[in-house]
Each structure stands twice: as C-alpha cells, then as structure tokens.
C-alpha cells in the first residue's frame, strides 16, 4: 500500500511536468483520473479495517484536494500563457490612425461670436436681433447722425433706395430694442454689417459686429468700464488691463475707445501692438441723450445707458494672428480647419 505522501509526490511531479494545456489534461487523468493510483487507493479504502480507514481516508482526500488545487492553478497559468501567445499574434500597429469619426469645424467667427455671447448672457444680457436691410432712420437718423455726415454718402454706404440701406453697423438695434421694451435694457446684438469698402487686409464689404447696450437707472462710465473690463479679460485673458481713451461717435456722449494691454507682449510693446503696449478693440460711450429722444419712455434725466460696438473679425484677427480679413469669407477649409476648437 503506497503511502499518501508518495502519492502526493507522484501526482505533483506528473502535473508540474506538463507544459501545455493538453499535457496537463493527460497528467490530470494520470494523477487524478479514474484509473489513477490515488483513485484506486481511495476505492480500496472500503477494504481496510475500520480503525485504519478513517485516518487513511482523510489523508488521501487531503492529497486529492491538494492535487486538484494544484491542477486548477496550473491550468489557469497555462491557459493564460497560451491566450497570451494567441493575443500577441493578433497585434495591430497602434501607430496607424484611428477610424475617423466625422467632426466638422465651426467657423472661427461663429466660435468667437458664441464666446462673446456667452460672456454677456452670463451677465444677464439678452441677444437682440435686427434687420440687415435697414431703414435710414434707424441706421443714421435715430443714432444722432447729422444729415450731412459723410458716413451716409454713396461712397460709404450701400443703398437699396433713398430710404433703405444695408446697415453699416449693428447700432440700429439699439433704438429698435428700446422701441420694443421699456427700460431696463441689457442686450448685445451680433450680426452682419455692410460697407462700401474695397477688400484689403483690414476692410471687407461685409463683416460682423457685436453691439452692446445697457440702459437703466444710475448707469455711469464706471459700469461701462467695469463690464468691458470683465469682457476683455474673458476674451483676452485674466491678466489684461484696459484703458479708456476719449473719442467721438455721434450716438454716444462721452465717447471712448477701449484699449486692452497687448496679449502678446503683456504691454512691453511688440509687433501686434505696434510697440504701443495697447491694442484698440472697441468703441463705446454713454448713450447720447439725443438717441433717447427718439424713443418713448426713456427720459435721459431718469435713465442713463452705455453702449459699445466691436468688430468680430478684428478681434479674431488679433487673437489668432490672421493677416487678411478675406480669409474669413474665402472659406478655404484648410484655413477653417486650423481653428477647430479654437476658443478655449
């Protein structure tokens, strides 16, 4: 009668010798199968005297348990290594490009416009809209533009007839908005505007502006300055400084131009800011009392307002280093695709 330890040793040797899953199965049959020495020994237990049976049975079952555990461990290991070989054979060149998921590019002007809209919507402004083919009244007269102002001339403005022109600015939306609602007003108006300009690096017969208008009780130059400071920092970076320079527009008084410290050189002076350290980005001012005079319910002694107007192309050109405004309207996809996810 072989002792259990010997059976265990033999079984271990058989199992551990196997190098493939098939060999391991053969070894399992030999060590643990129906005709294995261990199984035979277990089967012979019944023939043993009762006082020996218990101890031997316990011993043999322990050996079987040990061997079975050993087998399952070995099997996992062998299967894993065989799978590994198989998987390695299925290797791909991970440097090949991934399958393209269609993803278009928003026009850079749309991206910048949305960025501007989101800043002001976040401040509680609405987005107002107005017609691009506009009455002379709204584009000029109601904006306090003198009847003989050169901007009305055929050389500057595109006319449909004597009363109707293509709007030269988004400012007519100011009066339209005030006509449509009582104060307070907090709106911005982005949109296309038209000038009788020949295409050159910085002029286009069509471009986009964004207009802003706030009218409420107690608004002052301080609100204009603080809000546009917030806006300039949202657009050009949190470290930007702004300054107001006195200027002239017919529909604001006082009028200012707003400069932002150069985002390229930080104000030391460079190519982008032409050595000045400052870049002019928009025109603004307190709404001229004459403009309020064109709408009902806006008494300049009771309410005051501030407004600004800005060219979106100009801002995009400065921010993204675009040398010629025509790039925006050529729609060369090589240009457009450079600006995928440009606003961040």
């Amino acid at each position: 009668m072989e002792d259990a330890a010997s059976l265990e040793r033999q079984g271990r040797e058989l199992l551990e010798r196997a190098t493939t899953a098939a060999e391991l199965e053969d070894a399992r049959v030999e060590a643990l199968g129906r005709s294995s020495a261990l199984t035979l020994a277990l089967r012979e237990l019944g023939a043993l005297p009762a006082e020996l049976r218990g101890a031997r049975g316990q011993e043999l079952n322990r050996v079987r348990g040990e061997l079975e555990r050993l087998h399952s461990g070995l099997r996992e290991r062998l299967e894993a290594s065989e799978l590994d070989v198989e998987l390695r054979q299925a290797a791909v060149d991970v440097t090949l490009p991934g399958d393209p998921v269609p993803r278009g590019t928003a026009h850079l002007l749309t991206q910048v416009q949305r960025e501007i809209e989101d800043v002001f919507v976040g401040l509680g402004f609405r987005i107002a809209e107005g017609p691009e083919v506009e009455l002379e009244y709204y584009n000029f007269t109601a904006l306090n533009t003198p009847a003989d102002h050169p901007s009305r001339a055929e050389s500057d403005t595109l006319w449909i007839n004597s009363e109707v022109c293509l709007r030269t600015q988004t400012s007519p939306v100011q009066v339209r908005t005030m006509e449509a609602q009582p104060p307070p007003v907090y709106v911005i108006c982005p949109g296309r505007v038209y000038r009788r300009d020949t295409l050159d690096p910085t002029h286009s017969p069509m471009f986009q502006q964004v207009e802003g208008l706030a009218v409420d009780r107690g608004l002052s130059l301080a609100h204009l300055k603080g809000t546009l400071e917030h806006f300039a920092r949202a657009l050009f970076g949190p470290d930007r400084e702004i300054r107001l320079r006195s200027h002239y527009f017919p529909f604001t008084e006082p009028s200012v131009e707003l400069d932002v410290s150069c985002f390229l050189c930080g104000g030391r002076g460079c190519r982008v800011c032409k050595g000045e350290g400052w870049i002019e980005i928009l025109g603004a001012g307190m709404v001229d009392p004459n403009v309020f005079g064109f709408v009902e319910g806006y008494d300049p002694e009771v309410v005051s307002g501030w407004a600004f107007g800005m060219g979106i192309e100009r801002v995009a050109m400065l921010k993204y280093g675009i040398p010629h405004v025509k790039s925006f309207f050529d729609n060369d996809v090589r240009f457009l695709e450079q600006f995928r996810g440009a606003v961040r």
């Binding site: 993803r103 449909i160 907090y186 017969p205 609100h223 603080g226 006195s246 200027h247």
Partner: protein, 811 residues
C-alpha cells in the same frame, strides 16, 4: 493732422513735457496720436555745429568736369575750404549752407573729405531738400545777407522737427490748427497759453480798400462772412527759410511767400484763406453767390469743372474766380508778377463744402476744415495774422479799412453744468474748483455757482459742444478717464431665445455629422437666377438690387444660400479639396410688401465627393441624396421637429436632379425647403462633373413648428417581437405610403415599422416594381407576445398593404 512740436511751442509759454508723456496724455484725452515722426537731419550729437554758413570766395568750373563747380568757401576757420558742387545757381560773393565733414544727411549719407575728379572736396554745399526745408533740390540754398562765416544755421533755421500725427475726429475742427492743439496741451498740462497776437498791421495810402474792391454775400447760409484786404506793391518770392521749414515739417509744400502765408495761417489758426491777383479780378468786385447753371471754373489744378446751383462760388463781375472754401481759380491765381493782391478770409458752412467737394471729387486742406465746421469769428483773426506776414515778408502796403461783410452771428452759447450730473454720468470725483479750472483752460469762461457751473462755449467748439453732456465730456476727458472706477453691469435676465438655441443646435448637429461651417458674403451677382435656371416667375429670381454696388459680383442680395456655397465648394476644389461638406446659417433676403424685405434665417448645406472621413480602413461615403437626407433628418431630430420629405414635381426647382429632389414638408403648409442632388447641368455651370448634394431650409418657419417638450412614456418591461416581411410594390407608391399603410393596419401592438432593404430586379419582380423589406416590431406593455398572438396583426397589415398600395407578399 501733422503737428510739429516746435511750432506748438510758439503758442505756449512754458516748457513742453517729454514727448512720450505728451503723446500718451494727448491720446487719452481724445486726441489720438497715430505716430511721431522726426523730420530734418538725423539726431546726432553736435550736428547743429556742423551745418554752418559759408561765404563763397571763389567759384569756377572744375578743371576735369564740365558740370561741376570748384569753390573756395570761408566757413570762419581762417583758411577757406575747397568744396566741389554740382549746382550753378550761385557764385563768388554768395552765402551758402555748408555741411562740414562728419554730418549725416537725411538719406544716411555721411559727408567726408573726398576727392571728386581729382579735386579735394572738404564738405558739401547744401540744397533746401537736403535740409528738409523744401522739395527744392535743383539748386543750392543761397542764404542772403547777414550771416557770419561759420555761423551755425541752427540758430536761425530749425534743422529738425518732432512731428506728431494726430487722428482728429470729425467733431474737432479746432484741432486742425496749432492754436487748438496748443490749447489742449494748456488744458491737459497747465502749460501757459500765450495770448494771441491780434494786432492790425499798419495801412498806407489815402485810397481806402473800398476804392479798390467791393465784396458782397448773396447767400449768407452758405457764406456767413467774407473779409478782404488789399495789398499793393507785393513782391512774390520764395519764403524765408524758417517759414519753408515749418510748412515742410507740417507736410505742406512751400510755393511762394504769399501762398505760403495763407497755408501757414490756416495751419496755425484753423481758418483757411485765399489770395487773388487783384488785376485779374474783373469789375473790382467779389461776391459769394451760388453758381449759375452752365457756369464752369478752371481751378488751380488746371481742371475745368462744371458747376451747379448747389455750389458756392466767389465770383467777380463776369464769373467764378474760386470755389468757395475748396479751391481757387486759375485765372486769378497769384503769379510771380502779381503785385496787387486780395487776401480773402471768409467763412463757409460745412454742408455745402462737403457736398460740393464730394460732387467734384475735390478735397483740399481747406475743404477738410470747412466741412468739419469753422466758426465765422476766426476769419478776421486769421486775416490780421496773414496781413501782418504779408507786410513783413512780401513788402506789401495794405490799403486802409479792410472789408468785412458778415451775417448776424449768434452769440456764444451759454450752458449750465450740474456737478451732480457730472458725478452721475462719469462716476468721477471732480471738485467744482477742478472742473472750473479745466473749463477755464479750455476757454469756456466758467462761472461757478452752487453746485453748478455756467459756461460760454468758445467759438472753435461751437458745433461740438451744445449741451450739458458735451461739457461733462470735456471735464471728464481732461480730468482723466483713468480715474473712472470699475463697476459690473448685471443685466435684467439673460439667455438665448428658442430660435437662437435652434440655430446653435442645427450648427452643432452639422458639426457632429462632419460638416464644416462656411460664412459667405450676402451679395451675389445679377446672373445668379439665370445660372440656377429659375423660372421667370420664381420669386427667388427677383432679388433686391444694391443701387450703388462696389462691383458687379456684389450687386444683389441673395434669396438662396446655395449659390454662395457652390462657389465656396468650387474654390475649395481648385485648392485640391474634392471631398467636402459645407453648411451655412445666414439670412436670405426676400421682397415683401413692407418697406424692408423679409430676412428669414436660412440653413443650407452642400456635399461633394466621399464623406464621413476616408482613411486606410474605409473609403468614406459617396455624396448622395440619402446622405444629405440623413444629415437633414439628424438636424430635424436634434431640433425636435417632425418633417417629411415628399417627392417634388419634375419642373420645380430646375437646378435639382429631376429624379432626386424632394420638398421638406409639414402637412398642409408650403414647403420649408428642399433636399436633392444638383442637376448635372447646373453642376457643370459651377464647374463640377460629379454629384453634388444640397439642402436648403427656412429656419424661421422650422422654429414655428417647435412643439411642446416631450413627456415621459412608460417603457415596456417585456421583450419586443420582431417580424420581417418582404413586399413587391409598384414604384408609383412611395415608401412613405407603404409605411403609413402598415402603421394604420398594425394596431396598438405595432410599436415600430422600418424599411430595412430595397432591391430591384425587373426579371424577377417585373418592371417599375421593387421589393421593400419591412421589419415590424410588436410590443405590449404588460406581457410577452407570442407568434400566435401577433400573427393576425401581421396578416391584417399584409392585407391592408395589398388593398392600399397593391403590395404583394414575396415568398
């Protein structure tokens, strides 16, 4: 406006701040400095000592060169210097300007001791151009009497100038004068403003001016003031060097003493002047009147100009001698032989000057000032200033009692500023005393009251400052906008409207589908409808025309986005990009019964080539009707609007493929747009010979279809049962009719029906028929369905399909 800083100093009684500070503060106060230019000799240590007067002792032909002079010049050194010179307009006895070796000239050349054709040249005799005193580089500059040899020129003639280029806004005609800019510096920096010399020069003779000339104004609205002086014995000659140098530094070409004086005074005081040769004035009278029909004038630039009655002329007894405020006439032009002259200092109102100069295409330094507005009280001051110079520089003898005809002038406007209002509008903490000081320096004659200041608007500011707010701006800009605090405006409730969100959603859906966004110009050429083959009565062919287009390509406003996108597609093809899908969201413009056209927001896309991203594992999808329709469905799905595409009659929208086009439709309404492939003939007109897919959609009308937000439906816990059926259906019955019939007959248990295959085989199925494979999905809320339970529903569907659209079940 070119402002030479040294000229400004004439009007100021104290030292100027450093140039950097001057430029920065002027800009902030609204007088934007575009740049600073240094004119004259390049800055270098000691350059003032190197340009000296020299007495020419000897001058004669260079022994080895016919065109050169060899000179001996005394420059105060004991021994004369030998200098070779190319000019012959001087000789022994003249005094000239000499650049000694070491001088760097304008063009960077450095003068050295050199040999020219074998003779030593120890310096250079200078022309006016070489010193930037005038354009004259032909002959050298002869200095005249009174110069000691070796005397530096810098003591009497400025050799260099710092010139500020000011951007003058259209409201500030006063800044088109040195006096006006000096007043700004006075206000900003507090530098003393010297009182203006307004003295009358001495007159001569017994014969009064009225005996020489009569002046009159016919139209006071166009010419409110006309002053004239007459001078006898005037000698027309070049101006003295200081005057030439000043004009040159301000960008004005020196011409002759008299003309230079008028230009100088215009620049100095801001009110333009004109001089006539009195002997050419017929009838000894000048009248400011409207031109008569058919009259012409030959202006100083030798152009003959046709006039009309909207234009103001200064006429003598026989006809126009000047275009009022714009340009003089050639007939009475000052010539070298003029000796009796008329000096006009008039006033012209802005609108006429603006319109006339626009109509004639003639802008001058004078018209530029008049069209911004010059006050009539400045004319006599300018007249006296010019008269003093004519007497001093031209030897003129002024006749007594100059002429001054004037309309009744309005007194200076009085305004009251409330300090409380200053604080309200500007948020600046300006004291009453400080505000008074600012207004005083600006010439507003302020009188302080209790929290108020009463002012009188100075003449040069008469158009710009007419209300309290305008005075407030003056206080604010001089006090300094850098002192304005920052406050954030917080609005009264922001957000996008539903329509604005829809436009963003459509764009996002297109980007997700791989389309690139284009932005094209709103203009199209007149032949666009013809290029699309639109029918004569198609309203989209009736485009709004621009009355004054800049070019033929930009003559009309588009009614469709499609043509602009096709052009963009064609340009990209030329740049080598054939696989491309573009979309645009913009207005189109349609005539309406109102004064203004209808401008619906419009969406369009175009697709060409293989799309969806071609790469090594796949080729991309060729552009086709169904790819375009797929994007359309994706957009409609994203927006949450249900539309159908319905077949379009072959004649409608002839720019589309007659068999592959459809209306985007909601029941009972005109179409919202179209989807289709471009007609190959249209495509060819845009340069394409392959399929182009296009969609165009009226977003405004789409927005009208936005329904209520969806509410949650219960989802079944039980599995669906799917059954496929294949039907043979005649082509006359569109798939939409087949699906509708299936839904009608399917009952409540039919939760979905889809076409999953279409095939044609004329031999097997017969002509004009195709097989449609439908997947029917049945589902119940409260139980699992069995084949037995579903069978009668399926049979009902098949029976109804047979009855409704003649569909036959395939085996």
């Amino acid at each position: 406006m070119k402002v030479p800083v040294q000229w400004l100093a004439d009007h100021l009684g104290g030292p100027l701040p450093p140039l950097d500070e001057l430029v920065a503060r002027l800009s902030l106060a609204g007088d934007k400095v575009e740049g600073v230019e240094r004119r004259g000799l390049p800055a270098a240590d000691g350059v003032e000592e190197l340009i000296v007067a020299g007495h020419v002792l000897e001058a004669g032909k260079h022994p080895n060169a016919d065109r050169l002079q060899l000179t001996q010049v005394d420059v105060g050194e004991g021994a004369p210097r030998q200098i070779v010179c190319g000019a012959w307009n001087f000789g022994a006895g003249d005094t000239v300007a000499v650049a000694l070796p070491g001088t760097a000239l304008l063009d960077g050349r450095k003068i050295g001791r050199s040999k020219l054709r074998g003779e030593t040249s120890d310096g250079m005799i200078l022309s006016e151009r070489e010193l930037d005193i005038s354009q004259d580089g032909e002959g050298i500059m002869v200095l005249g009497e009174g110069w000691a040899p070796g005397e530096p020129l810098a003591g009497r003639v400025p050799l260099f100038h710092d010139v500020i280029e000011l951007e003058v806004t259209s409201n500030r005609a006063d800044l088109l004068s040195m006096r006006g800019v000096a007043r700004e510096l006075h206000a900003i920096f507090g530098i003393e403003l010297t009182p203006l010399d307004d003295s009358e020069p001495p007159a001569h003779g017994d014969r009064l001016t009225t005996n020489w000339l009569a002046v009159g104004i016919d139209d006071e609205d166009l010419c409110p003031r006309f002053t004239a002086r007459v001078f006898q014995g005037v000698t027309i000659a070049p101006s003295p060097l200081w005057l030439k140098a000043r004009l040159q530094s301000a960008g004005i070409r020196p011409i002759s003493n008299l003309v230079d004086i008028t230009n100088y005074v215009m620049h100095d005081l801001g009110s333009p002047l004109h001089a006539y040769d009195l002997e050419k004035i017929r009838g000894a009278s000048l009248t400011a009147r409207r031109a008569r029909a058919g009259e012409t004038i030959r202006t100083l630039d030798e152009q003959v100009r046709e006039l009309d009655s909207s234009m103001l002329v200064i006429a003598d007894a026989e006809g126009p001698q000047a275009l009022g405020g714009i340009m003089g006439g050639a007939e009475s032009e000052i010539s070298d032989s003029s000796s009796m002259i008329v000096l006009e200092a008039a006033n012209f109102t802005r609108t006429q000057v603006l319109h006339t100069s626009q109509k004639l295409g003639l802008r001058t330094e004078g018209s530029n000032r008049w069209e911004k507005g010059v006050h009539p009280t400045i004319a006599p001051i300018a007249s006296r200033a010019a008269a003093r110079l004519v007497v001093e520089l031209c030897g003129g003898r002024m006749t007594p009692r100059s002429l001054d005809v004037s309309a009744e002038l309005a007194p200076r406007l009085q305004l009251r500023v409330r300090m409380e209002r200053v604080a309200q509008m500007t948020a600046l903490d300006v004291s009453l005393a400080r505000a008074v000081e600012i207004l005083d320096r600006l010439g507003f004659d302020p009188r302080a009251g209790q929290g108020t200041i009463d002012v009188r608007v100075p003449a040069p500011r008469f158009l710009d400052v007419t209300r309290e707010i305008d005075v407030i701006e003056e206080i604010a800009r001089i006090y300094g906008l850098e002192h304005v605090p920052s406050l954030l405006s917080v609005g009264s409730g922001g957000g996008l409207t539903a329509a604005q969100r829809v436009r963003r959603t459509i764009a996002d859906a297109c980007l997700g589908a791989g389309l690139t966004e284009a932005q094209t110009l709103s203009y199209v050429p007149a032949d666009t409808p013809a290029k699309l083959g639109l029918a004569a009565d198609d309203p989209r062919g009736d485009m709004l025309a621009v009355a004054n287009p800049l070019s033929q390509d930009h003559s009309h406003l588009r009614t469709l986005l499609l043509p602009s996108l096709l052009e963009a597609l064609a340009r990209n093809a030329a740049w080598g990009r054939d696989d491309l899908a573009l979309f645009e969201i913009a207005h189109t413009y349609h005539r309406s019964d109102e004064k203004l056209p209808r401008e619906p927001w419009t969406f369009a896309l175009v697709m060409r080539g293989r799309l969806g991203g071609a790469a090594w594992r796949r080729a991309g999808e060729p552009a086709s009707f169904f790819l375009g329709k797929g994007v359309l469905e994706s957009i409609l799905g994203a927006v949450g609007v249900t539309c159908r595409v319905e077949a379009m009659d072959g004649d409608v929208d002839p720019f589309l493929h007659p068999g592959r086009k459809g209306f985007i439709q909601v029941p009972g309404e005109p179409a919202l747009g179209f989807v289709g492939e471009l007609h190959p003939l249209t495509a060819r007109r845009y340069g394409f010979d392959d399929p182009i897919v296009c969609v165009e959609l009226d977003i405004d009308r789409l927005c009208e279809r936005l329904g209520e937000a969806p509410t949650a439906l219960p989802l079944s816990e039980f599995p669906p049962l799917r059954q496929d059926i294949a039907l043979v259906v005649a082509d006359e019955h569109p798939a939409s009719a087949v699906l509708a019939a299936a839904r009608t007959a399917g009952g409540e248990l039919l939760s979905d029906v889809q076409v999953f295959d279409v095939w044609r085989d004329a031999a097997a199925l017969g002509p004009d028929r195709r097989s449609l494979a439908l997947r029917l999905t049945f589902q119940a809320q409260e139980r699992t369905l069995s084949d037995e339970e579903v069978r009668p529903h399926r049979e009902a569907i098949v029976a109804h399909l047979r009855a409704a659209v003649g569909a036959e079940l395939r085996g």
